[in-house]
Structures are given as C-alpha cells and as structure tokens.
C-alpha cells in the first residue's frame, strides 16, 4: 500500500477508550449523575454537563442507524478497501458511534441491521472496534 491509513491521535479524553479496544473491550463513558452513556468520550457529560464520569464496558451490540457504501475511497489510503461500508452504529446503551461494517457483501447492509463489535488490530498500539451483522 502506497499510503498509510490514518490512525487516531489519542488524547486524555480518549486514551481509556483506545486502551480498552486494544484489550478487546468496548468501554465508553457513563455519567454518574444522569446515568446516561455517551460517545465520543468527553471530560463532561453532553447530556447533563456533569463531570462525574467513568468508563463502562458495554455490550458491543447495536444496530445500523445509517451507513454509506463508499464507492470512491476517502483518499488513496483506502483505495484497496473499495467498496467498503462506513456505518453509524446505535449501541444498545444509546450512544451512536462511527465505524466500519465488516462484510463480504456491502449490498446486504441495511438500516436497522443488528450488529456486534469485532476488534481489528491495525498496529501494535491501535485496535479498531469494527462491527459485523449478526
């Protein structure tokens, strides 16, 4: 591959999330005050603005909220992947997260499809939570 794929620039908000993914868990912030999960990880809860947050291991199950089949890549780094499915996953716990659907048949992906997380190692440090249809 001529161009390396972009990797996340990890910061203090996201470090526990990426560390958990590296260890094969989907951990996202849970608010100790309003009881809601959120994603992406922040220093305050976007629902009630509390800073009483901890990372919680969630089920990894959810459904496709919406998606697109990329027929053109998002730059040369993704050229070998085309066609590929980028999807917004609504987790059972409520929050939505962007990811990829791992599938041999992009045409089979549809809104409402049940999915579960699967961890795909990119480098020694970075593992991505992808999803596959169940």
């Amino acid at each position: 591959m001529s161009t390396e794929k972009p990797l996340p620039v990890i910061d203090h908000d996201s470090a526990p999330y990426w560390q958990a993914a590296h260890e094969g868990r989907l951990d996202i912030p849970l608010c100790g005050d309003c009881g809601k999960h959120h994603f992406y990880p922040r220093a305050i809860c976007p629902h009630c603005h509390s800073d009483n947050l901890k990372f919680d291991t969630v089920s990894g199950r959810g459904e496709v909220h919406t998606f697109t089949i990329a027929r053109r890549p998002a730059g040369p780094a993704f050229a070998d992947d085309v066609p590929y499915v980028v999807a917004l996953i609504e987790l059972e716990e409520g929050p939505r997260m962007m990811s990829r659907i791992q599938t041999d048949d992009p045409e089979k992906v549809h809104i409402g499809a049940k999915v579960e997380v699967t961890f795909v190692k990119a480098t020694d440090e970075i593992t991505f939570p992808y999803f596959r249809m169940t």
Binding site: K5, P6, L7, P8, V9, I10, D11, S14, F39, Y40, H65, T66, F67, T68, I69, A70, R71, R72, P73, A74, G75, P76, A77, F78, D81, Y84, V86, L88, R96, M97, M98, S99, R100, I111, G112, A122, F128
Partner: protein, 390 residues
C-alpha cells in the same frame, strides 16, 4: 417601523470564472481584493470608507487564513474597527450579514464589507483525503469516511429509510437547478441534464451519485452593507436586510442529533422569518445551499416550505425549475453554477440581484422578498437571511 440605521445591501461583485477557474491572474487574496474594490465602487464608495470587515476563508491554513480578517485587512491596506471572522463553513456569509446588520444598527460601523475568495479549483486543493484524525475526528477519519460526501450520504440514506424519499426525488433537484444554470451565462455547467443522467452517473458514496454533488470551482464575491440613511447618497438601489437567524449542532456527522432533520435550518429560519415579519407565502425567490441534492431537500423541509418527510414530493415535477411554482437557486446553484468551497456568499449575491431585477433570462418576475439559507460543515450550521426590495 423604518429607522435610518436599518441595514441594507448597497454593493456586490463576483469574480469571472471560466471552466470553473478564475479568468484574471491574481492570488487568492488578489481576487478577494478585486471583488471588494468592485463592490464598494459599485455603491459609489471606496475601500477607505470601509470600517467593518467580515470574511471567512482557508488561505494557506495553517498560516494566513487562520486570522482571516487580519490577513485580508492587511492586503487591502485598511484598518477596520469592526471585524468578524466567524467561520461556520459555507453558511458563514449569511451569519456575517446578520452580524454586520447588528453592528450597523448599533452604530459600531458605517460601511461593512463581506468578502470571500477561494482558488481551490486552480490549486486542486479540495481535500478529499479525510480530515486530520484528531479530537472528534479520531473517531471518524480512521474508518475511511469519505468527506464531505459520506456524511450527506448517511443523512440521505436515513431520510430515504424514514420517509421513502428516492434517488429520483433527489435527481429532480439537480435537473431543475441545471435548467436555471442554462439561463445564466456565467454558470459553469450549462449542458442539458435529465433525471436519468443523474441516476446513471457514477455512484460516489451510496446513495449519492456524482451529479448529486456540487461542483468544485474557484470563486470570489463581496457584499457591501450600510445603513438606510447612508444609502440615500449612494449609487445603487438598496436591498433591505429584514431578518436573520443562525444555529449549529455538530461537527462530526455522528453527532448530528437527527440525521433526517436539519435542526439549524429550522431554528435559523424561524428566527429570521419572525424578525422580518414574513410568512412562507411572502417569499418570492429562495436561494438555499446545495452542496448536495439532499442538502436542499432537508433545508426546504426544515424551513417549513413543506412538512418534514414531504420534501421528495415537494421538489418533484420540476417544481423548483424555471417556470415552476417555487423559483429556487436561480443562478444554477452550487450544483451547476459554481462552488468554491464556501458557497453561501453566492446565494446572497444572487438573491440581491433578483431583488434588483437585473437577472435577465432568469429573472423571477416581481421578486420583492427573498429567503437565503446557507448550510455549513456537514449539515452542521445554518444561517438564514430575509432580504427585501426597499
């Protein structure tokens, strides 16, 4: 009630482009300066009269464009005492009109100049290689999200799922817009276009085809605003800024509260129409941001021209085309006229020209009130302006 400090538009200019590229040889700031000069001179003013400077741009970022008003003020050789570099994407210039209107009313400036320039086509700089994978984008870019089209595709997919909107509905918008472009000698794409042409064009990011997407061109434009009182001594017939509103909800498309509803447009539109004291039936011509066909559909619904979910029906039968019941994007829009990255400037220019009655073959007869709505980012921000012939 009329007031001497009511804000009005008194000057405008845009740069000639051919095959999507600037005709004149000048830098991106050079083009900004040339349209700025032309716009103030049209009004019978000079650049030395300008005390309010508003702009948004991406000139050599990181670099000069980070402090856009400062960079442009330096290039123009002026010392503005009111500035606004608000950058909320393509809707920035609608917000600038609002901010300039408030500054004029307040007596904080007398002559406000709003400028935009981009040479993205000549530079071949439009970045479709993904956004830097930092902050919220670390949770999007690594998955290969095609930007910006992927986010719009996801909204379109959701709208189709919830309301049964079809690719044909979206294509109607591209076709109607092309018909307006055919009436505009300055438009970039003027060849005939059919719904089938749109549907058979290359699929980019499902469900959006190549011809659902705006052009990539150069472009520069400028608008001059002053007070109704000052306008009496100027050369042009003023167009009144009667109402405005703005809002934004998200940057990452995954954070959009409802992917099938454009909340910023709903909020901004309500605010602007209420301020102007106009209802939908008062609007004679509509200029709304058409980065993608789906953008238009979501905007028309959110602005209340039809019910949420009924946009597909609303635009069918070439309703928005020349001769249709709903004249919209009368210069040929971002889809067929020009799209230099932040297109909102050109919505304002076209609406003002329609209200001046100088649009030739594409003139909407008797146009007295126009609604302009810009959308920026990835369906992120919205700003509405209501303009009226004085």
């Amino acid at each position: 009630m009329k007031n001497g400090r009511d804000p009005v538009i008194v000057g405008l200019a845009d740069a000639p482009i051919e095959d999507g590229k600037f005709v004149t040889k000048a830098s991106v700031l050079g083009h900004a300066a040339l349209v700025a000069k032309a716009a103030v001179e049209e009004a019978g003013l000079t650049l030395d009269d300008v005390d309010g400077l508003l702009t948004a741009g991406m000139w050599g970022v990181p670099g000069p464009g980070q402090l856009a008003t400062v960079t442009l003020g330096e290039y123009l050789g002026i010392m503005p005492t009111y500035v606004d570099g608000t950058n909320i994407g393509g809707s920035a210039f609608e917000a600038h009109v609002a901010h300039a209107a408030m500054a004029l009313r307040e007596g904080y400036c007398e002559v406000a100049l709003i400028v935009y320039s981009s040479d993205q086509k000549s530079l071949r700089s439009r970045n479709l290689g993904g956004r830097p994978s930092v902050l919220s984008m670390q949770h999007e870019t690594p998955y290969g999200m095609p930007t910006p089209v992927g986010g719009y595709a996801m909204a379109a997919q959701r709208h189709m799922h919830e309301y049964g909107t079809t690719s044909e509905n979206l294509a109607e918008i591209a076709v109607a817009t092309r018909k307006w472009a055919q009436l505009n000698p300055a438009a970039t794409r003027r060849d005939p276009l059919s719904v089938d042409d749109v549907l058979s064009s290359t699929m980019i990011s499902e469900p959006l085809h190549l011809l659902d997407c705006c052009l990539v061109t150069d472009g520069a434009g400028a608008i001059v605003m002053t007070t109704a009182e000052r306008a009496k001594d100027l050369k042009t017939k003023p167009v009144g800024v009667k109402g405005y509103g703005e809002a934004h909800t998200h940057w990452a498309i995954g954070e959009m509260p409802d992917l099938a509803r454009l909340l910023p447009a709903q909020k901004a539109g309500e605010t602007a129409m209420k301020m102007a004291g106009v209802s939908h039936s008062d609007i004679d011509v509509v200029e709304v941001y058409d980065s993608f066909t789906i953008t238009v559909l979501l905007t028309l619904e959110a602005l209340g021209f039809c019910k949420i979910g009924e946009g597909g029906d609303f635009v069918s039968g070439q309703r928005t085309a020349p001769g249709g019941a709903f004249p919209m994007n009368t210069n040929g829009g971002g889809l067929s006229a020009l799209h230099p990255g932040m297109y909102g400037m050109f919505l304002l220019i076209e609406a003002t020209r329609q209200l001046r009655g100088v649009c030739g073959d594409r003139q909407v007869a008797g146009a007295e009130t126009a609604l302009v709505h810009g959308t920026g980012g990835t369906l992120s921000s919205g700003a509405t302006v209501i303009l009226q012939k004085d």
